[in-house]
Symmetry: C2
Subunit: 395 residues, 2 copies
């Protein structure tokens, strides 16, 4: 059912063009996955995501396990039927949410005991249990269960988490019953390059259908994240898909691709959309700013999305000001279009053997316009992103 083909590799670089073949369609990579924490991407329906060009979304096993429950989803025919989503789905194992959202989290080698962030009810999750839950949910790609460590952490703490994550990975592999789902292993190791290399070698030796880089975009500097990718990716098999978990600012995508990443997910387009942070080719537009109250221009005059071709900044400013939910929907549609379009442009650049030039121009344009406009600043973008990433940027 699942297959990954590297179709082209960038000359003199790590960027690559590929195709993920799934039972629910082929996805061109590098690809970005919108996040539907509770099922849908907030405010959007399946048709909206298809119209934007997405063929693969991410759902959170943790949230769906709590509500409506994986047995309910299974009874209703699995996630695809439940969501009426004809495309492919990846579920995360819930590890990140257990460690970041749940209360009174207690970890042993056996598994994790935690209290639901919703009602304080007690839950016990093991590697075997996460596979059972994800098999019931029925995504095309499922993830091994990993221990996520808050940033910053000591080397000993990171090493302990890596060793446990890898022991859990073995158990996840052994616990599989369904053969029609791809299972990805996760490389942890925090901001320690040696640990990353060791973790990658161990996980690769177990043999998974794909490999994820976890534990990044949790508050560290971008330079640290890039260095960790540079340490990790070369250890991963060339023919397997590589997925950078939870990082999704536009510059992360460009720089991740430059370091050989094929898949990304992040709640940034939707969550930032809800706060009125709009992504454009020239940086960000904070639509709440009073300067937009009478601005008849679209968010980004160069954008061809259904929002920019139809609505003014003034209207979106009004919707934000009066807290009208249509504003959230339109902001999210615009942001997701920006992300889909960015990935299309990245793929096109790789295909035409001009990714290095694309990457250079991408940064240059943001620097250029960012210096001119008040709320258009890559620097500001980075700062806010670093501050909020752990608490806010992931479901």
């Amino acid at each position: 059912m699942f297959n990954f083909l590297v179709r082209q590799t960038d000359l003199g670089g790590q960027a690559r063009l590929g195709t993920l073949a799934t039972a629910h369609g082929d996805i061109d990579s590098p690809a970005f996955m919108p996040v539907g924490s509770l099922g849908p991407v907030k405010g959007l329906d399946a048709g909206d995501l298809q119209a934007l060009g997405f063929g693969l979304i991410l759902n959170n096993a943790y949230h769906l396990y709590l509500r409506p429950g994986h047995e309910v989803v299974a009874e209703l025919g699995g996630l695809h039927a439940f969501l009426s989503w004809p495309g492919a789905i990846l579920t995360d194992s819930g590890g990140f949410q257990v460690f970041s959202l749940a209360k009174l989290c207690k970890v042993t080698d056996e598994g994790v005991t935690f209290q639901s962030h919703l009602d304080g009810s007690l839950h016990h999750i093991t590697p075997e249990r996460t596979i059972e839950i994800q098999e019931a949910l029925g995504a095309d790609i499922i993830m091994a269960f990993d221990e996520c460590v808050a940033f910053p952490a000591s080397r000993d703490r990171l090493r302990e988490a890596v060793l446990r994550t890898n022991r859990w990975a073995v158990r996840c592999r052994a616990a599989r019953r369904r053969t029609d789902q791809a299972l990805f292993g996760i490389v942890q190791g925090g901001h320690d390059p040696d640990l990353r290399v060791q973790a990658a070698r161990d996980v690769v030796s177990m043999g998974f259908d794909g490999y994820a880089v976890g534990g990044l975009s949790v508050g560290e500097d971008k330079s640290v994240m890039y260095r960790m990718l540079e340490a990790t990716v070369p250890e991963l098999p060339v023919m397997s898909p590589r997925y950078l978990m939870g990082a999704g600012m536009p510059e992360d995508l460009v720089e991740g691709v430059a370091r050989g990443i094929d898949l990304f997910d992040c709640v940034v387009p939707s969550r930032h959309g809800r706060t009125g942070w709009l992504f454009t080719s020239f940086g960000r537009v904070l639509i709440k700013n009073a300067r937009y109250a009478r601005d008849e221009r679209p968010i980004d005059p160069e954008c061809r999305c259904p929002v920019c071709t139809q609505h003014s900044r003034a209207y979106l400013h009004h919707l934000f000001t009066v807290k009208e939910m249509l504003g959230v929907r339109l902001n999210t549609l615009h942001n997701l279009h920006y992300f889909a379009d960015l990935m299309r442009r990245i793929r096109k650049a790789i295909q035409s053997r001009s990714f290095a030039a694309f990457r250079q121009e991408f940064h240059a344009q943001r620097e250029r316009v960012g210096a001119e406009c008040g709320d258009v600043s890559t620097r500001g973008t980075d700062a806010v992103q670093a501050r909020t990433s752990w608490e806010e940027e992931r479901g």
Copy 2:
């Protein structure tokens, strides 16, 4: 620009088929207007409303006067441009909102002084000022300023309000500058049939492009509302459109049409949608009920709306439970489709000279199925509607 044509009248009844011609399209009547209090119908875009078949929406002058301000809307090209709405628009005068939402409302013959419900700022509105605001907003149909009296009220209080409303109507007529907008007069008179008749005669004698029946659906029994329509409508010119303001439960539409009403508006489809109250051919479905958690059927198996053709009750129940905003959007889309479809069926029945039979079957079906299902009850519908109408059913 504005023209109304009665194309057919029901044999032996008051129901009639007509066409409202506006600069922004022709609208078949009887018609229902979705309400966009702050501009859009909550969560929906222009394309959504067009796809549902609506050609005429209502916007609240009160809300748009406060935010973003009528001058801002005018500067941006008027409401149609601001909302990117190609169809027709009716604005109410703000009277209802001033009297129901605003604080410390002080009425004199000259006008009304009130505090904004948003920030307590002081505003003074006169009949002349409401026309100025509505001309700036630029709807196709604008409304005279009326004094709305809370239910119940004494006959003296009602008479006083009628006399003031009618004096204000004269001033509204005189204050007009734009000739490309239709201006509708409003008949008040509470639950007093004699007052209604007198109010209607006075307003009609002034000559408006259409006539609205105001001050109903404010907490009175449905039988009282129907009696008031029976007293008022025969006083209105046969060739002018008749608009029942703010009443919009399905039975109100059928019974209003039966009494000669051409236009309706109500926030019921969207507001009830937000509370998970879904309208169907057999009564209501309260999607929050646990019984729907594993129900694979659509809301209404007979419904052809984009929600019922795609999603299960179980999914909508989940979206409601987790407070996912997509749930509100889907519920609203379904409810508005129900209303659009009900009006289409009403028009078809009038056209095929079978409205009396349609009306009988409409009530019979709800009685029949309502008696069988727990949360499907016309009786319950009425009770809740009567209780919440004044505070909640209007923007």
